[in-house]
Subunit: 448 residues, 2 copies
């Protein structure tokens, strides 16, 4: 028979069992964090009519969309979760209550050129709060605390949530006479981290004909070393948009502290522009302190109209997204995954040492009733092969059930890490195992 | 602006928030049931190279596969999870330990003609146990207890797992001289439930030239009213394949009882053939007792070679699949979903009644620390509008936080179901809320 080489497409993450368990642990932790803030789970289709996904037009992104055709409908795979949310909210508008808070963790598809660390199929974890007609800035203030909760629950300690306000930024550019080209200036300023201060100043003057004075003012603004509000104060009262942004930023800062985000973990960063046309208020980016080069691991912001392509209602919102697959990839690459977490699918492997499997079956039933995850080794192999299997499986405990044990109503439990072994009554040992397993499962997925 | 009608493709299930929560509850319950039996979670790509998915050739199914092209690769969306498992096991053969137990709950795609109750995108929940070179029949005996655990954990009470053995069935046909056309006979016998006994007898004789005597023997075999083993006994010692099947069936029955599956919930059903070429040992189908017309909600069986298209190793296995989306659809249609289960995304909605949101923020922080899912209503609306929102959200408890409460260090909790209201210290009420919420969350997703 001619065989086909089993392969997985490049750019598609497919994990070995232990890694998958770690991935799932992160996935569930995010779900729990989102839930604490009252976000409801959604699971929208992976595929939509092409006209839905292309509604807002995507420029570069559009080229990456996977399209397909079946029957007479042009179909496409979603490349982000926001368009699906927009469609969902517009479609179910009358059935939802606003502000509508949802999270969705799902796969999206981008037909990018495959390269290391870039994925064609990847999970995004999105939260959004959608208002009907309006949405208080208070919601923008709560988002950083959700991000903080997410990452600390995962065990990540060293990260900073950068926060800025697009109104303050645009207002500032208007004040210094660059209102007309504020988009272009912002796009350039966003490169500060990459190019450095000198190069940025040069680019602003050469490419955008910004005067030396304006350039200096921009440079001071985006790299002010002290309390940013001290600097912002200087511009107050000169521009309505700026003043609104200032007030929003002050409100956000106040509540972010109120929500318990430590000052070490967020920063009002006036250089942050993030995206260009979409965001209209608070914007966020989250940087892993020790790995600034990987860029933002959770970003987003406030936008004014979620679903204008689908519905004649203004639906402002605020949201952030975590690139979950990419985050997992980085954690793996940087050896930040907590490999001491229990990743075996079973807590206990029962190895029957008699031909009759019935005692093993009864024991498995009692153990599962106590919530233990139990596998019975049912193959007719030599004892050494059975132990080799247990070792390869990474199972923490093995129960040996021979004639002696069965005769005396006892079981033998072998601790596969310590190598120790104890024989005693099943009831007693099962209780002990439950406690030990609880401890083994209680870690966080990221090394602290 | 020209607007696009927001729509979801037909054949794609997209749920409203409360339904989504019920769906997710079922999803997680299945995960937990699978985990108790030591199945490890996998998450394989939704898309594969077309040659991988088409490796085994699909006949009718192949026509339903969604294909797409990007660059120079022919791609396809998976239409089941088994081919992905076969690829995974072949690809990672040396890294896995056998027997390899995995579950995968994931979306699959079939470009069927859309009709009520048929889906183009749907979840399958699969478990499989894969052996290397061999796999003891004991594994086949454990599967019904997994199915029993899954459905009872969901709250379903009235269902029956039908069990048969393909070796016994094939052996029987050989014994009565129909070995040459056993596949055709089986295919016909599988229709017994649909066409009835008389029609089946007629079809066997007319279409397959089965003699009257053979037809009578078949009819007795597939509709024997007493203990099937009494009937099977008659044929023992006449055919090697039959005897093997008999022994397997006896072993399966013994252990199914040992695993605690009540005799009311499984049945050795000699009429069950299930599929035709793939299965080679025990086969299963699960019927909801009160809804036999919906057919099997969980089926599968033993097969001899999982991945012959990909690897030169014999990898026998046994597995079953639950059509999760279809099951959910049926539960919805038959009003079997437990709507008294808590489906709101928040346990508590805090309604601040002062301009300063800080006390609400502090309270939310304390409540979330206790594991309560809390949303703060942050919009500047009239009190009536805030309560309307709480009602529409379906949140069980509302906390009112006005000047009086803040001044006295108390909170007012309104029970949205009972309509009652109590004012007391926050600490006291939070503890009470945690208890109440625990109870509200503790139900099963299917009405009992």
């Amino acid at each position: 028979m001619e065989r086909i080489k089993p392969r997985t497409l490049s750019g598609f993450m497919e994990l070995l069992p232990a890694q998958q368990v770690l991935f799932d642990t992160i996935y569930r932790s995010l779900e729990e964090s989102f839930s604490l803030y009252g976000f409801t789970p959604l699971d929208t289709p992976m595929m939509e009519a092409a006209e839905i996904l292309l509604a807002k037009g995507g420029g570069e992104t559009e080229k990456q969309i996977y399209t397909l055709n079946k029957g007479d409908t042009d179909l496409a795979l979603r490349y982000e979760l926001t368009t699906s949310l927009a469609k969902y909210v517009a479609k179910n508008y009358s059935k939802l209550s606003f502000p509508f808070r949802r999270y969705e963790i799902g796969k999206v598809y981008r037909g990018e050129r495959a390269q290391r660390g870039r994925f064609r199929e990847f999970y995004q974890a999105d939260i959004d709060i959608i208002g009907d007609g309006g949405l208080d800035v208070f919601n923008e203030a709560e988002i950083p605390s959700v991000i903080y909760e997410c990452f600390t629950a995962l065990g990540l300690e060293r990260f900073v949530i950068n926060i800025n306000n697009r109104k303050a930024l645009s207002g500032f550019f208007e004040i210094i006479g660059l209102g007309e080209i504020s988009t272009e200036v912002m796009r350039m300023v966003d490169k500060l981290d990459k190019v450095g201060e000198d190069k940025l100043r040069e680019m602003l003057m050469d490419d955008l004909s910004v005067t030396q004075e304006q350039a200096s003012e921009i440079m001071e603004f985006v790299s002010f070393p002290g309390d940013p509000f001290e600097l912002l104060e200087k511009y107050k009262g000169k521009n309505e948009l700026f003043d609104k942004g200032y007030d929003e930023l002050a409100a956000v800062k106040k509540h972010v502290i109120g929500f318990g985000v430590p000052e070490t973990h967020f920063k009002i960063n006036l250089a942050l522009a993030r995206g260009l046309d979409y965001y209209t208020g608070t914007v966020y980016e989250t940087i892993m302190t020790d790995y600034p080069e990987v860029g933002s691991v959770c970003g987003g912001g406030r936008y004014d109209n979620l679903a204008e392509y689908f519905i004649d209602r203004q639906l402002p919102g605020v949201g952030v997204a975590i690139g979950l697959t990419r985050l997992f990839y980085i954690l793996q690459e940087q050896s930040l995954l907590n490999n001491s977490l229990l990743t075996s699918a079973s807590d206990v492997l029962i190895i029957p040492m008699t031909d009759d499997m019935s005692p093993a079956v009864s024991l498995a039933v009692s153990m599962r009733e106590q919530g233990l995850r139990v596998q019975i080794y049912g193959e007719n192999k030599k004892f050494a092969a059975k132990l080799t299997y247990a070792n390869k499986l990474g199972v923490p405990y093995v129960v040996l059930l021979g004639e002696d044990e069965i005769g005396s109503g006892q079981i033998t439990v072998k601790d596969m890490v310590e190598g120790s072994q104890v024989t005693a009554s099943a009831g007693l040992l099962i209780t002990g195992l439950c406690d030990k397993i609880k401890k083994l499962r209680s870690g966080v997925p990221i090394k602290t």
